[in-house]
């Protein structure tokens, strides 16, 4: 039995000098065979394993991670969580996810520090306003909480924003999702890992998948740097490396991998109590519980697998940040980093079966999949377990690129994260 976490156990362990805390997950060697192999120990992969075990009773599962778990985009993102997407299909999926988020700490018995401080998406021109209001209307009818704030409302919700009409792109208003916010990214990976491990899932780090064994059009195993593993079901959840992996199974995915950078400031006392995103001025900023301002903007233009980007991208986003928040000018940037995001042409994810029987892919989350972690794992587990798409996953299948049933989330929602 896994030790429970609570104020009480913390107290008890404190009194015994913390010597009796168990490992949060084991570090097993790979077994020769599993019922399901998940490739990629990011949040989505770990969540998939967790829900396979919890909801579908499939516990003979391995999560294979080439580095350390959560070390991909899960541990590199700016942790914005929201569900106010434009199209019905996306709103349903992200709202499903947000609902899971709201019970996640309790479900995992791990505090993922969901902080629903509200997410504002600013509008700076008449086109922005039109699109933003359209999204608010659609969100409401889809049961997603959404409000439109005028400039005064923006100022009231976030008093430090510069709402002067005399700036280059004045703030004309914003959409607000009060249930949106941030969460602690590492805790999400660790919480799912601990939960999956407790249910019997083997989490195997430093184990890179190098190929797939396919017989008669069906998956029979994977090759790894720690040997071959037999299995009849593989879920590939490798973010920026999805297309590379899929290619090894002979599948060409409509994905492009780009670096996406982020940065934090030195910690300061609380000044910014919500998440502000602007697509036109192009930056988004929140403040973490530790006091660091967390910010990011758009992808680096070129394709890359190196987890770093160009400095000029940061210079631009900093100008945008100071345009919105002039009082931040004398603060200092403490850390920068980058992740590799896999972007679909329609800026929507892939949750899909493939032409290879038993091979499933979960990816294309691009710049915005952290918020989807619980929902994605939940519906992907269903898809793998039943060998048929979960109803919420069905629209995100690969064949939408053949039929044309795209779910274009950049044209209209036009918000990257």
């Amino acid at each position: 039995m896994k030790q429970r976490f609570s104020a009480f156990t913390l107290l008890r362990n404190g009194l015994s000098w913390h010597e009796n805390w168990q490992r949060q997950w084991r570090s097993p060697d790979p077994k020769p065979a599993y019922d399901v192999v998940i490739v990629g120990g990011g949040g989505h992969g770990l969540a998939t394993a967790y829900y396979l075990a919890k909801e579908h009773g499939i516990t003979n599962v391995a999560v294979l991670e080439k580095g350390w778990l959560g070390g991909g985009n899960t541990g590199r993102n700016t942790t914005i969580v929201r569900s106010n997407y434009l199209w019905d299909e996306s709103a349903a999926l992200y709202e499903h996810s947000l609902k899971l988020w709201e019970g996640l700490s309790a479900d995992l018995n791990y505090n993922v520090m969901l902080s629903q401080r509200g997410v504002m998406n600013l509008a700076h021109n008449l086109g922005d306003v039109r699109e933003a209001q359209r999204r608010v209307h659609a969100n409401r009818l889809n049961g997603v909480d959404a409000e439109w704030l005028d400039t005064a409302g923006v100022k009231e919700f976030c008093p430090i924003i510069n709402t002067s009409p005399d700036v280059r792109y004045p703030v004309l208003g914003a959409t607000l999702q009060r249930r949106g916010g941030t969460a602690r990214h590492d805790a999400v990976a660790w919480g799912y890992a601990r939960g999956a491990d407790a249910r019997g899932v083997d989490i195997i780090q430093n184990c890179e998948v190098t190929g797939f064994d396919i017989e008669g059009g069906a998956i029979v195993g994977v090759q790894t740097t720690r040997g071959a593993i037999r299995t009849s079901k593989v879920g590939v959840v490798a973010a920026g490396h999805n297309s590379v992996l899929a290619a090894k199974a002979g599948i060409r995915l409509p994905l492009q991998s780009h670096p996406l950078q982020a940065l934090v400031s030195e910690p300061i006392k609380p000044v910014h109590d919500c998440v502000v995103m602007s697509n036109t001025v192009h930056v988004y900023v929140s403040q973490s519980d530790k006091g660091e301002l967390v910010m990011g903007a758009g992808i680096d233009g070129y394709n890359s697998y190196a987890q770093r980007g160009s400095f000029h991208i940061i210079e631009h986003q900093m100008a945008a940040c100071l345009e919105l928040f002039p009082i931040f000018s004398r603060l200092r940037m403490l850390r920068t980093w980058g992740g590799i995001v896999d972007v679909c042409p329609d800026a929507s994810p892939l949750l899909t079966k493939t032409p290879v029987a038993g091979l499933f892919i979960n990816g294309g989350w691009g710049t915005g999949g952290f918020k989807a972690t619980p929902g994605s794992g939940h519906v992907f587990a269903h898809t793998i377990a039943r060998d048929e798409p979960h109803p919420l996953a069905a629209p995100f299948s690969l064949d939408r690129f053949t039929t044309g049933a795209l779910i274009d989330e950049h044209g209209a929602a036009a918000v990257a994260h």
Binding site: Y110, K269, S329, T336
Partner: protein, 1004 residues
């Protein structure tokens, strides 16, 4: 309150200017210091050792270092708009009137309420917050998280915008030398003498690095004199540039490095109005020499964080360079030789030394020399505990063998504890350059492995420590860098003569045992600022966090504002020991930019306010401003939105403007439209492939409206293209889409169809476009262009003419976006205003009315003309817009194949229709979603949405355009728009053309 100036100074010496006293204030008390002090040295010279509180436990903290690696001494500098949080006092140069306050303490440093956390510290171990505060969720939302947030954070953000300015420089050089210590100066000299363009950047106020606090001599000169000579020589070399106060913080690909120069900070706030406060340097160097030195590692022992505990090298620096009497009785605790420099410095300054505690059983020649000078050296011993609260008062010394403490030892009282756990080369920039570091077991540190770029490391950052060797390495690196960049023959100048110092190897002592098991008595701090202890690292490992990255994230070791300069290696070594692995097996964290934190403002530079993004205005802009126009941002353009007369709101203005166009004459500045010249043999073929309709057969002098799609068949841009000659077209695009379209054209030409001979040139800025529209437009043109035949037969709709208009050579296009008789008069930009004025003058008798984009939008909507980005959103095909007539069945074009995909060809796609609200006065909000039935609980199935919506003075009612599922099949049906607040608007679906269906107005 005022304290006497520098009561803790040495009698003389140091690099402070004792003839220039300065006063400053710390936590409300006024003190004195000297020019040349840092805030830290000045505080220490006033006997102030308690300078801050730690992040989590609020432990009292003193100055640990003398540089960029300082974890403890963080201050809030100045007040008001120029206040700045979290500055390291060790790097703040003193100036007259400086005001600083400590961070993270309330109500005061000495009486800090947050210190109650120390009582609970037993429970606040690494990651405790992941294990609790989970239920009920409302308590987390309302109580715990707000409390955690309030406790966290260090200093405060300013409450006002920054009054200072910042700028940027871009330079190229042959050799960039980073760091002006002995290795860097030597490298710069060797490279500079070859005539190469050399830049030497150093983060401190003065060049010299460790030489500034060294007692050694070079070529018989005291070290600081040698530095002065070296600087003089560098100054005499015209191609050499030396930049002090300049921190190189990032090393990017292709030898691109970024640095921040602090230009005015040392002068005090607002001292140089108009001068940029900081400058961001972008350097592209043929070769880079890194000479960034090394950071001394603290030792990890119980309660190693008391004020008065200081790096041994910092002790030497404060005594020698700043003339500070750090205490009256010092203990030195070391594992290696370098701390004996501090012993020498203390001896020379006459500061009492209680003892040297050297962990090595056989500490070697430096210890012998100290003993010879009368210093007690306890070999094979460690400091097992410390005493004191706001200042160290004593230490417990114990013998230690094989990690086991001797049962008894002695207690020494002291007010200063100098510690040295060895050195960590500053490999940060090397690592950022993608070089891999390697563990050197003999030197007990990570050293640079093979260079990944055109770069060499020299001196301490390369793991080379003796002065002679450092100088030799610097000279060799400089000479070879210049040579590789094409200067000099690579010959290495002679190394200055320095005295040999006998040395003994250091000891690997990563965790000093305490008097009780780890964590039970006292705290062994690894990361001082984040309050991470050796116990936390052990706990993390116990809980399965084995990767360095996991431990770092779980414990927050190395994540503080000093970026782990003093904690990374200690943390790694303790983890390795816990896991029973060798250090290199556990790995190292990779370093990322920035090396030290960088001010936001300097990264933004001048790109603020109006300069955030270029403002594009038309040649007629000033006229619009004078006329009182309100403007709309469209991309980077400022477009007149409407022209209100006195007392008019937008509604009234638009009503007047729109009536004027339909009934008489209006004029619009359309200069912002994208314009692209398309020339070349294959121009027609090219346009046929890009547009959904045919252009190769267009007659010369004729115009055609075209749509372009992306590969997925979705409409991408539109506009009118005219044929000016056999191989010459003139394309117009949307205002916001011009750059996108040009990129798109070039993309196809360069990557897909390189065989086509076509040249595209943006001429948006070259032409000014004035659209005159309304029943009187022909009369106006006739007046303005007497030489031009303007009758419908001579100048039909969709044709263009060149000729004199108002005495100016112009191109006139007869096209219409309003559905009225319209002409677009194009003249070279510099004539735009003149033409506008001529049009206004001639139009006066026709009652000409300037109108803006709002009226334009209304007028085109009355005709059902689309706007890209409004009726389209990247998911709309030409067929969805009911524009089948423009989609060629014969030829191929980009996006055509996608139109037949099963989903794209569905009959029930969302398609363009018109809407008439039941209530003729009710203007539907744009973006409103449409449903079949009012009411219902979410998710409510949606049919589509309102894309454009207006009240029309010409129709005398409201109307809208909408995209609705299977729209054209639903004509006559009623749909509902549920709005915020529960109100629902009813509307009837109609054809999307509300006026002049036959087009007789525009065509006539």
């Amino acid at each position: 309150m005022t304290k006497p100036m520098g009561s803790h100074r040495t009698a003389n010496g140091g690099r402070i200017d004792r003839s220039r006293p300065l006063s400053f204030m710390f936590d409300g008390v006024t003190y004195g210091g000297f020019a040349g002090d840092t805030l830290a040295s000045a505080l220490l010279a006033n006997g102030v050792h308690l300078v801050g509180r730690s992040f989590k436990y609020h432990r009292p903290r003193g100055v640990l270092t003398a540089g960029a690696d300082e974890p403890n001494a963080l201050v809030q500098l100045e007040r008001g708009a120029r206040t700045e949080p979290n500055l390291r006092a060790t790097q703040v140069e003193l100036y007259q009137g400086l005001v600083a306050t400590s961070v993270n303490a309330w109500p005061s440093l000495t009486h800090d309420l947050g210190a109650v956390n120390q009582l609970l510290s037993r429970f606040f171990v690494a990651g405790f917050y992941y294990k609790t505060f989970m239920r009920p969720k409302v308590l987390w939302d309302r109580v715990y998280e707000p409390f955690l947030r309030r406790m966290a954070g260090l200093g405060r953000a300013p409450e006002l915008p920054d009054p200072d300015i910042y700028d940027k420089m871009h330079v190229h050089c042959d050799v960039l030398v980073v760091g002006a210590g002995p290795a860097g100066l030597a490298a710069a000299l060797a490279a500079g003498r070859t005539g190469a363009r050399v830049i030497l950047m150093d983060e401190q106020a003065e060049a010299g690095g460790s030489l500034l606090s060294s007692a050694e001599s070079l070529d018989g000169k005291p070290a600081p004199d040698w530095v002065a000579d070296a600087l003089a020589e560098l100054a005499s070399l015209p191609a050499v540039r030396v930049l002090q106060r300049t921190s190189v913080f990032g090393y990017y690909d292709q030898n691109f490095l970024c640095a921040v120069e602090r230009r005015t900070d040392h002068l005090g706030p607002g001292a140089r109005p108009g001068l940029s406060r900081q400058r961001l340097w972008h350097v592209r160097a043929a070769r880079v020499v890194l000479a960034t030195g090394a950071h001394e590692r603290p030792l990890v022992f119980a309660d190693n964080d008391r004020p008065g505990v200081m790096q041994a090298s910092a002790v030497a620096t404060y005594v020698r360079r700043f003339g500070v009497r750090l205490g009256s009785r010092a203990v030195i605790f070391t594992t290696n030789d370098s701390a004996y420099d501090a012993v020498d410095a203390l001896l020379a300054a006459g500061i009492g030394i209680a003892a040297v505690v050297d962990s090595r059983p056989d500490p070697g020649p430096r210890a012998e020399a100290a003993r010879a000078a009368g210093v007690v050296v306890h070999a094979g011993c460690v400091v097992a505990a410390t005493h004191g609260t706001r200042r160290i008062t004593g230490v417990e010394v114990r013998g230690c063998e094989g990690g086991v403490l001797a049962p008894a030892g002695l207690r020494l009282s002291c007010d200063l504890l100098a510690i040295s756990g060895g050195w960590s080369p500053a490999v940060h920039l090397f690592s950022q350059s993608q070089g891999r570091v390697r563990w050197d077991e003999a030197k007990l540190c990570f050293v640079p492995g093979e260079a990944a770029q055109a770069q060499t490391s020299a001196g301490a950052c390369n793991g080379t420590f003796g002065l002679g060797a450092v100088l030799a390495e610097g000279l060799a690196a400089g000479a070879s860098a210049a040579h590789l960049a094409g200067f000099g023959d690579g010959a290495v100048p002679a190394t200055p003569a320095v005295a040999e110092v006998a040395a003994a190897p250091g000891d690997a002592l990563w965790l000093v045992p305490g008097l009780k098991p780890l964590g039970r008595a006292g705290k062994h701090f690894v990361d001082f600022q984040n309050d991470v202890t050796a116990f936390d690292i052990r706990l993390a490992a116990r809980e399965g966090f084995e990767s360095v990255e996991h431990v770092k994230r779980y414990t927050t070791n190395g994540m503080a504002t000093d970026q782990g300069k003093t904690s990374n290696v200690n943390g790694l070594a303790i983890l390795a020991d816990t896991l029973g692995r060798a250090i290199p097996e556990v790995g190292t964290t990779t370093f990322r930019a920035p090396y030290t934190p960088v001010t936001f403002g300097v990264m933004a530079g001048r790109d603020l306010g109006e300069m955030l993004d270029p403002v594009r205005t038309t040649p007629i802009h000033a006229w619009h401003v004078a006329r009182g126009a309100l403007f709309e941002d469209v991309g980077q353009w400022k477009r007149p939105w409407y022209f209100p007369l006195a007392g008019e709101d937008m509604h009234a203005a638009v009503r007047r403007e729109a009536k004027a166009v339909r009934d008489g004459l209006g004029v619009l500045d359309a200069s912002t439209l994208g314009k692209i010249e398309i020339r070349g043999r294959d121009a027609g073929v090219f346009l046929d492939r890009i547009y959904t309709n045919l252009f190769s057969k267009l007659g010369i002098g004729r115009c055609r409206y075209g749509l372009m799609c992306k590969e997925d068949g979705m409409v991408f841009d539109d506009g009118v293209t005219a044929r000016l000659g056999p191989d010459h077209y003139y394309m117009t695009t949307t205002t916001g889409g011009a750059a996108r379209v040009l990129d798109w054209l070039e993309d196809y030409l360069q990557t897909e169809w390189p065989d086509l001979e076509v040249y595209c040139t943006s001429v948006t800025e070259q032409w000014s476009t004035i659209a005159v529209s309304g029943p009187r437009a022909r009369d106006l043109l006739a007046d303005l262009a007497p030489g031009m035949a303007v009758d419908p037969e001579s100048f039909p709709f969709l044709s263009m003419r060149e000729g004199m208009v108002a005495g100016l050579a112009a191109r006139v296009f007869r096209i219409s976006f309003t559905g009225e008789l319209s002409y677009e008069i194009n003249v070279p930009s510099h004539l735009g205003l003149a033409m506008w004025q001529a049009v206004m003058a001639a139009g006066a008798r026709h009652g000409i009315t300037p109108y803006g984009t709002e009226t334009m939008h209304l007028l085109r909507a009355e005709k059902g003309f689309i706007i890209i980005g409004q009726e389209t959103d990247g998911t709309v095909t030409p067929l969805d817009l009911g524009m089948d007539w423009i989609v060629s069945k014969q030829k191929d074009f980009v996006g055509k194949r996608s139109l037949t995909r099963s989903d794209t060809a569905r009959a029930d796609r969302k398609r363009l229709v018109g809407l008439l609200p039941e209530d003729e006065g009710e203007v539907l909000p744009e973006g409103a979603q449409l449903v079949e039935m009012a009411g219902g609980t979410p998710p409510v199935p949606m049919l589509g949405h309102v894309t454009s919506s207006y009240w029309s003075p010409n129709l005398g009612r409201s109307f809208a355009l909408a995209l609705i599922k299977g729209g054209p099949e639903r004509l006559g049906q009623i749909v509902f728009a549920p709005l915020a607040g529960g109100r629902t608007v009813k509307a009837r679906i109609v054809e999307p053309v509300f006026l002049d269906r036959e087009g007789s107005r525009q065509n006539g």
